[in-house]
Amino acid sequence: MNEVLINALMYGVALVLTTYLLLRRVKLLIGRKVRVPKPQEAPKYTYSQVIALIKVVSIVLKTPATALSLSVILIILLISALSSGAVLASKTVTIEPTGKYLIIIELSENLPQLITHELNFKELRKMIRVVLEEPLNLRVGSETLVIYSVLGLDTDYGPLNVSRECYVGAKEFSSRLLKIRDKLVPIKYLGNFIYELRIVDGVTLLKPSFFLGSKPIFVPLENTLVTSFELANELLNASVPITYVIEFMSSEELNATVPLLLKYKEYISEFIIVHNDTLITYFGTPIPSTEGVVTSIISAAIASLIILPSTHAQISKIKEVEERLVIIGFPIWSLSLIALFAVISPLIMMGIVFFLITPLVFEPPSVFTSLISFVITALTVTAFSKIEVSKIYAQPEITPATHELTLVLSEGPHEVLSKVDTLLRRDEFFDVIKIDKYCRDDEGYLYGVLRFKKAWGLGANVEVMVSRVNDGYKVSISVKPWSIEEISDKYMELISKMVLSKVHGGLRV
């Protein structure tokens, strides 16, 4: 029965589908109204300049010089990041000789097993020294004791008998009982002596709230609790950093242990080394090492030196399309800006991408050293590219430059051309490569090729034509500067002016 139903369903679907396709075919054969699309308006070239700008950047991007520059930047940033060698910030102070070799280390709550199991120190003391952000409210009878600073000691310390009592700086609670979990602990008054107690000279037993200059500022005694390590641990639910005081027999033993502990610097919030009379305090913030910073600066210098010559090749590439840019409608003054933008933008883009990715892979000190490299390189390349661009795109002075000059003189062609010949040959700025002279009756022609002495591959061609005009002779001087290198119009016009002024002045005098 089921099979019959399935077959009927299949045949039904096939019939409907065939009918639909047939009807569609018939409709097509009969014909139907076709909507003729309206003629579209020609696209407006509103963004043509933006597109041109993008194309200029893409021209620069396609050059091998850009590929080289980007590779160099990437390698430099990686070198800077890898060589940062993050170390903890430190401060060294000379103290009274203690005769001890100690490490005082405060580790975050995530890593107590490091000290107790992995490194397995023998001479070890542990304590809780915390200043709380949120107060700890303890009930003493019907009253509340507000605690901001807790000191938990594993053994009795001087006048502090923490194994049997706890200490609070509020006199009214003295001799009463403090209930911690199920235990009742007698309270004793905590005097000012607590400020004088030290783990070692220079390190107070009670943790300062902050420092005012070098002076430690503590939480008021009324809000301070000193108790045993276990009770403090219970009160704070073991969610606080623990301070360990590790004593060593010798300086060598201590020195060997420091690198082992510094491997876990991300868990260290306080690290103090006592070398008999030297106290070195490391702070929890990792900073780049001196070598790292030096490397990043040198790397930036290397990158700049490698990229700078490449920018010249890139700018020359843009120079090739400058006519097209002018046709599109870019003003001439904007060409240098476009060239600068095209050279700098790939570097900036590369930097942005790098600094979006690096914080995910590297630590902050590495990002910092890479940033130093990048900023120095970017600034140097921008500054020198600007100089390079301004050389190539330099515009001539406002004074219009003349390449041609016409004079009317009384001398004949032979005298004029001989004078010009002598002037050019004696010129201090130009060497004569060739001079051709031709004189006939009242007409004369001189063609000279000059080479500028102060620069290689730069010179000018001079043409002087002399012809008869009424009572005198018309002298037409034409100068065409040339260069085998790509130099700016400004310099070309300078050459032109020098030759013209020489010939003009010589003929006038």
């Binding site: 010089a65 160099v72 390698i75 070198i79 040198i298 290397i302 490698i306 010559p309 010249h312 090749a313």
Partner: protein
């Protein structure tokens, strides 16, 4: 124009161009960094890669100044073979400078790796540049 007259021209180009100076400074700085981070292999190899890129980059950049020299040589009537000789002398001078710096500043294996890297890179880029120039000229 003979080969003897090329030598003063080559030395003139060599000492007037910024590129050999850049190459020398970059190589000195890189060598210092390599010796500073010689225990950190990844940084060392990145620095060696950088030196190789430096050679390629600087010789590529030298194209502009060399182009004018070649055009000048052609104007003076030099044959292609003479220009090839010029390139060869220039290449040898530049590569010699780079490799001497590496050999003086670095020692043993690092110096050897640097030498091979820089020499190969310089020659490769010079061959590339030479092909381009010959086409251009």
């Amino acid at each position: 124009m003979n080969v003897a007259s090329l030598i003063p021209l080559v030395s003139k180009v060599f000492f007037r161009s910024r590129v050999p100076f850049f190459a020398i400074v970059v190589n000195v700085l890189t060598s210092y960094l390599i010796s500073l981070w010689s225990k950190h292999l990844l940084i060392t190899y990145l620095l060696i890669l950088l030196t190789i890129l430096t050679s390629i980059s600087l010789i590529y950049a030298e194209k502009t100044s060399l182009t004018s020299v070649f055009t000048g040589l052609r104007i003076c009537g030099a044959k292609v073979n003479v220009i090839r000789g010029f390139i060869l002398i220039y290449a040898v001078l530049l590569t010699l400078f780079l490799t001497i710096i590496q050999l003086v500043l670095l020692k043993e294996l690092l110096a050897l790796i640097e030498f091979i890297g820089v020499f190969t890179a310089s020659l490769t880029s010079l061959i590339l540049v030479k092909v381009k120039f010959i086409e251009h000229v």
